[in-house]
Amino acid sequence: MSGVRRLVRSGRALVTGVPYLWLMLFFLVPFLIVLRISFSEAIMAQPPYTPLLDWVQGEEGEGLKLLLTLNLGSYLRLFQDDLYVVAYLSSLRVAAVSTLLCLAVGYPMAYAIARARPERRGALMMLVILPFWTSFLIRVYAWIGILKANGTLANLLASIGLADPSFELLYSDVAVYIGITYSYLPFMILPLYASLEKLDPTLLEAAADLGARPWEAFLRVTLPLSLPGIIAGSLLVFIPAVGEFVIPELLGGPDTLMIGRVLWNEFFSNRDWPVASAVAIALLLFLVVPIMVFQVVQGRQQEAGR
């Protein structure tokens, strides 16, 4: 019997170990390397940064010494140069506004689907998820044609006399809000629907019997019970939106500063790997709290599922 047990145990170790090792090597270790390089100095070399640890020749008779050089210059630059602070703040603002917009569009949709007849819910949810399967890049691209001057929206507004055909929303913060809301909407609706669908309708009947008006019942019963869905959905939109690159790059104007774009330019245009790494570490520090909250919410759902 102990042979079988050992077999089971080694089988388990293998099942857990293989994906564990993969994710350690290709997800966790890379962060440590980013951290390390953020303390280096940029040099013209291959790779373009200085080593942190170096063997140097000591004084007479001392032999080799291991020298650790921590260069804080990249981090100092983040504080000294306005560009970075402004970019971080505007990333947080753009992500927050887009998350609220997602919630405003997504909550009524999720609520309506959860209240639809059970046999229709699957198809209605499918319609929400379907666009997610088509290319993200192409869905963002679709908005260029709509928002540009002489684009679909401008022509539509001009035909009813509300605006000039040269009216342009493209290359502005508003375009970025629309783009993020559009691309991330399914992520908001999925967890919202999951929590609203579980809601017991008899609770609302009870509230009505006890004299609560519909909006009162909504505020005091539905809303609090769907809070886990709101939190999970908001984090699923907010966290990736803070670091978003493609949407501000395609829809935002030259003054739409977002940190993902700054990191990209530091890396690809300025080829300053240490500063790009420091930007990444600072971005992670901003996101560490929301990511932890997400982990806890996710973990609780895993527990509940079991």
């Binding site: 290709f26 569009v105 209240r115 044609g145 993902g260 990444a280």
Partner: protein, 274 residues
């Protein structure tokens, strides 16, 4: 109920009108994408002669198929561990490694993997330069998390009694997995593979970081051509992608629902027979 269904239809219009416009203007004769100049399929013809685009599409499909397959293998194991092994040592970290890639900004994943590959090349001489291999590894890493979550939730939704019964009848764990568990979670595995394939085919940020000269993926080609505004060829390409995806989803869901019906019928037969 009325304002609610209004909100629902507004939401669907918001989701689908941009895609519909994209398709409509792909059949536009005019080079000015949003001004209608008559029906034409010329952009599809030009697309077929765009060598650079076709090459990058082929590269992307290869990478997507390869990384989706790897991600399904790793993600299924991870999902199994999370759903069935209870509290093993290191589970918290493991759970974190699975859920963090779901929300991690792509620029960070891309940068960190590139720095890893550069460091590895320095230390052990592998990977030799960057290209298809490094993009495949990167895509496998972040899509594994999605597969794991799908497989785990499927496993969490079914009780372990069938597996336990097989164990009681003396089946070895590996046999239980291949004969009982795998067929039961097959729909989740198919969905996971399709999702991983789509995510890989769609990724531009991570791929831009970890690609090398001569390994330009389709999204990278698209990004560089739409940075300077609209192009009717991209509309044509978008239409093809939407068509392929819609067909794929339709066929997959048809097959899955048929299988599910068959399974239910079998269960009923077994119950009645016994």
């Amino acid at each position: 109920m009325r304002p609610l269904s209004l909100a629902l239809w507004f939401g669907y219009a918001f989701l689908y009108v941009p895609i519909a416009l994209l398709i409509l203007y792909s059949f536009n004769e005019s080079r000015l994408v949003t001004v209608w100049g008559g029906f034409s399929t010329r952009w599809y013809g030009e697309l077929l002669h765009n060598e650079q685009l076709l090459d990058s599409a082929w590269l992307s499909i290869q990478i997507a198929a390869l990384s989706a397959t790897l991600a399904v293998a790793l993600g299924t194991l991870a999902g199994l561990a999370l759903a069935r092994f209870g509290r093993f040592r290191g589970r918290t970290l493991f759970g974190g490694l699975i859920s963090a890639p779901l929300v991690m900004p792509e620029v960070i994943i891309g940068l960190s993997l590139l720095l890893l590959f550069v460091a590895m090349e320095q230390w052990i001489g592998w990977p030799d330069g960057r290209g298809m291999t490094t993009i495949t590894i990167a895509h496998t890493t972040f899509t594994t998390a999605y597969v794991a979550v799908i497989v785990q939730s499927r496993l969490a939704g079914m009780d372990g009694s069938l597996e336990e019964a097989a164990m009681d009848l003396g089946a070895r764990p590996a046999k239980v997995f291949f004969v009982i568990t795998l067929p039961l979670i097959a729909p989740a595995i198919v969905a996971g593979w399709l999702l991983a394939f789509t995510l890989s085919l769609d990724d531009v940020v991570v791929a831009s970081f970890v690609s090398g000269p001569g390994s330009t993926t389709l999204p990278m080609t698209i990004l560089s051509s739409v940075r300077f505004g609209v192009s009717p060829q991209i509309n044509a390409l978008a239409t093809i992608i939407v068509l392929v995806v819609a067909t794929g989803i339709f066929v997959a869901s048809l097959l899955l629902s048929r299988r599910e019906r068959q399974r239910r019928r079998d269960e009923q037969m077994a119950l009645q027979g016994g």
